[in-house]
């Protein structure tokens, strides 16, 4: 047996839950007349366009092909005609190539869609890559890569951790996955365990989802290979390294991947999608998203075609644009603030939040009082206060010695800071300056 670094239980912070949409079953929206689908919605090499303006496409037609192992396919989410290939400015400021597709409103499936034949690890990986699946928890890492057999000299993979912590405030889409798509979820978990030779699985769920915990317990009997593990509501319980530590007692070594701890981590919605893909062969073309926030009139969970302009989604759901101070893709702790509501919905989106200034709060930044709360509450055991000081002094060596690169940018340090200092943002600057100097 290989030995893994054991991890102490990671305790986190208390953030507000605001899970108003816990009980809201997924509803459909009137689909948009036109979708804007970024060809690459994943980490890794960009996908290569396969369509040109004028091409006829169907739901599930491959429109951009993965260009390597760490890359992902992209499919059309509507049936209709490709109007244009153009670039939009992504939320991080970069240029993103997109296919603009005019929908014929019929949602005709691609005639080539059929369930994949999966018999072993390789065929499962091929199927998952073909499906266009990327980490649906938000990171967008191509999922098939995680299922690969460990390289020579690496420990064997033995545990599947299903991330159903959903520790971000507001978001309830994973909760709805467990309550609505449990058959696919069960099939997905079993397929991954069987074909990747994982002897057991742990489903980690924060205790604020009692109905999901109950449902999972019905599905997976006690003392089976699949353990349902209720977790304390403590942010960032769903951060990959934190969840692995709290669910398996193993630590992912610094700079390493979950595989270095013998673990495969899948977001619960990703696992359910694998089940659904194996059953139907329909690629990743729509997402369940939580739409919430003070500026939203009918908060709830909605199933939305990928590439739907967020402005269309919000006007279907009902919102008061003049009250929205920030528009977030994802949760308030780690989500991305959008500069325009015309932005398209992405594969890895799990929530769209239109937050008012009352919900966000107005804060004044005071001098650091060295209370040490940022260090005390860092799930990675870092000392942001000292890293910030090293950054101020442009002391790269000290930033490295303080392990700045180990920061997962969960936002806990900024959240707890009584002086309301932008601590997480400072950590990003520190990481950026180390990277710029060629460090890791």
């Amino acid at each position: 047996m290989p030995t893994f670094i054991s991890a102490p239980r990671v305790r986190g912070i208390s953030v507000p839950h605001r899970k108003h949409t816990d009980d809201s079953a997924t509803a459909a929206i009137t689909p948009p007349g036109e979708v804007v689908i970024p060809l690459s919605m994943h980490i890794g090499r960009p996908a290569e366009a396969l369509v040109k303006p004028g091409d006829r496409v169907f739901v599930g037609t491959l429109i951009a092909k993965a260009t390597g192992f760490i890359s992902a396919n992209t499919h059309s989410s509507v049936s209709g005609t490709v109007k244009a290939l153009r670039e939009i400015t992504a939320s991080d400021g970069s240029a993103a190539a997109c296919a603009v597709i005019e929908s014929d409103g019929l949602f005709e499936p691609d005639p080539g869609i059929r369930p994949p034949a999966v018999t072993d690890r390789q065929s499962l990986m091929d199927a998952v890559q073909a499906s266009g699946l990327v980490g649906l928890g938000g990171a967008g890492f191509p999922t098939h890569v995680k299922l690969a057999a460990p390289a020579e000299g690496k420990p064997p993979l033995d545990i599947l951790v299903i991330n159903a912590a959903e520790c971000e405030p507001y978001i309830t889409s994973d909760n709805r996955t467990m309550l609505e798509d449990w058959e696919d979820l069960k099939a997905g978990i079993e397929a991954v365990m069987r074909h990747c030779g994982l002897r057991r699985a742990v489903i980690g769920i924060e205790r604020n989802k009692p109905r999901a915990i109950e449902k999972m317990r019905e599905l997976f009997p006690e003392k089976g290979d699949v353990e349902v593990l209720p977790l304390r509501c403590s942010y960032p319980q769903g951060a990959e390294k934190v969840l692995i530590a709290n669910a398996t007692g193993r630590a992912v070594p610094m700079g390493g991947l979950p595989a270095d701890a013998g673990v495969v981590v899948l977001n619960v919605t990703s696992a359910a999608f694998i089940g659904s893909y194996l059953r139907t062969g329909t690629p990743l073309v729509s997402k369940r998203v939580t739409v919430d926030g003070g500026a939203v009139l009918n908060p709830g969970n909605y199933r939305v075609p990928i590439g739907t302009p967020i402005s269309h989604l919000l006007s279907e759901v009902g919102w008061e644009p003049e009250r929205a101070e920030k528009l977030l893709m994802g949760g308030p702790m780690m989500g991305t603030a959008l500069y325009t509501a015309d932005y398209p919905l992405l594969k890895n989106n799990n929530a769209i939040l239109a937050l008012t200034s009352e919900e966000l709060g107005v804060y004044r930044i005071d001098p650091c009082i060295r209370c040490g709360r940022c260090a005390d509450n860092c799930p990675m055991g870092l000392s942001p206060v000292e890293i910030a000081l090293a950054l101020e002094q442009k002391d790269l060596t000290r930033m490295r010695n303080l392990f700045a690169m180990n920061c997962i940018e969960c936002g806990s340090c900024s959240f707890v800071c009584p002086a309301k200092r932008p601590v997480t943002q400072t950590m990003r600057l520190a990481k950026g300056s180390i990277r710029k100097a060629g460090g890791r």
Binding site: M254, E322, P332, G372, G411
Partner: protein
């Protein structure tokens, strides 16, 4: 439609602020002020008011002169004022209290960069400065109306007996105005721990180690000695000053142990009655080193091969 605000995450923050923390500290100090008023009369309240007024005014004028927004509403200067007054005998001439307050804020705090940048606790450094400068009035300990003592219990540790426990607990003995009532100081400390403003590590390590080392060094009344002198005030309200104490839990324990050791040494082997003050000043200075040696181990650290 509004212009959307774009910033990087996180987008929500906790409700705590510097001001709410300082406000909690002021609230935690208030029972002791009440005790001082009962024990030493309204002169104690006047002295406290003068210290707070002088501290806040100094902070405000400094900010005006430095052309930066006034920081008096973060309440940190008020906290310094109250804690400084607790370190003074109730009978101290008011002008001396003003000198001490100005020194605490202008010299110890602002000259080094203001809130968060001072390497010594302002109230503590001011107390030591005043002890050296105004030795006579600073050691003219006041006494509750008819307490029959003649000196602070620190000067007569050897003569303390079990019958002195209750007076020590409620502060019915000589001393500076805010250090004598152990009961209200403990109450304030418990409140701060409950509110999460401070962690109990420093006070427990400091008081515990003072007890231990006093006993080891042969103090006849080790147990009573932890209620005497400035230990409670120092351990609960001064040693826990964020700026001048270590970040990590382990660091806080090391800091408390060191302060307790030094306090016992000074109390037993020196003539000075300033055990807690000097112990804390010395520990203030070594905080950066304690931080370096007691930092939390980062998650997933791989031991060097």
């Amino acid at each position: 439609m509004n212009k959307l605000t774009v910033s990087s995450s996180p987008h929500i923050l906790s409700g705590d602020s510097t001001r709410s923390i300082m406000g909690s500290v002021l609230l935690a100090l208030s029972p002791t002020l009440l005790a001082a008023a009962i024990l030493y009369g309204l002169r104690a309240v006047l002295l406290c008011g003068v210290c707070v007024g002088a501290s806040v005014l100094t902070e405000h004028i400094w900010c005006l002169a430095a052309k930066k927004p006034s920081s008096v509403w973060d309440l940190s200067a008020a906290v310094t004022g109250v804690i400084l007054s607790f370190n003074l005998p109730a009978s101290l001439p008011l002008w001396q209290a003003v000198v001490g307050s100005v020194f605490a804020i202008a010299v110890v705090k602002q000259l080094f960069g203001g809130l968060g940048c001072n390497f010594l606790n302002p109230a503590l450094a001011a107390r030591v400065m005043m002890n050296i400068s105004f030795t006579g009035s600073m050691t003219a300990y006041s006494f509750p109306a008819d307490a029959a003592s003649t000196a602070t219990p620190m000067a007569e540790l050897g003569e303390l007996g079990a019958k002195d426990f209750l007076p020590l607990l409620v502060g019915y003995h000589g001393g500076v105005m805010g250090e004598t009532c152990a009961l209200t100081l403990l109450l304030g400390g418990a409140y701060l721990v409950f509110k999460g403003v401070i962690k109990p590590h420093i006070p427990l390590a400091f008081i515990g180690s003072t007890l231990l080392f006093s006993w080891l060094f042969g103090s006849p009344n080790a147990l009573l000695s932890i209620f005497a002198g400035g230990l409670m005030l120092g351990a609960i309200f001064m040693a826990t000053d964020y700026v001048t104490s270590p970040y990590s839990d382990l660091g806080k324990i090391v800091y408390g142990l060191g302060a307790g050791l030094l306090t016992s040494l000074i109390r037993i082997y020196s003539n000075s009655s300033e055990g807690v003050s000097f112990a804390l000043l010395i520990m203030n200075l070594v905080v950066p080193y304690i931080n370096d040696f007691t930092r939390r181990r980062p998650f997933g650290e791989v031991s060097a091969r």
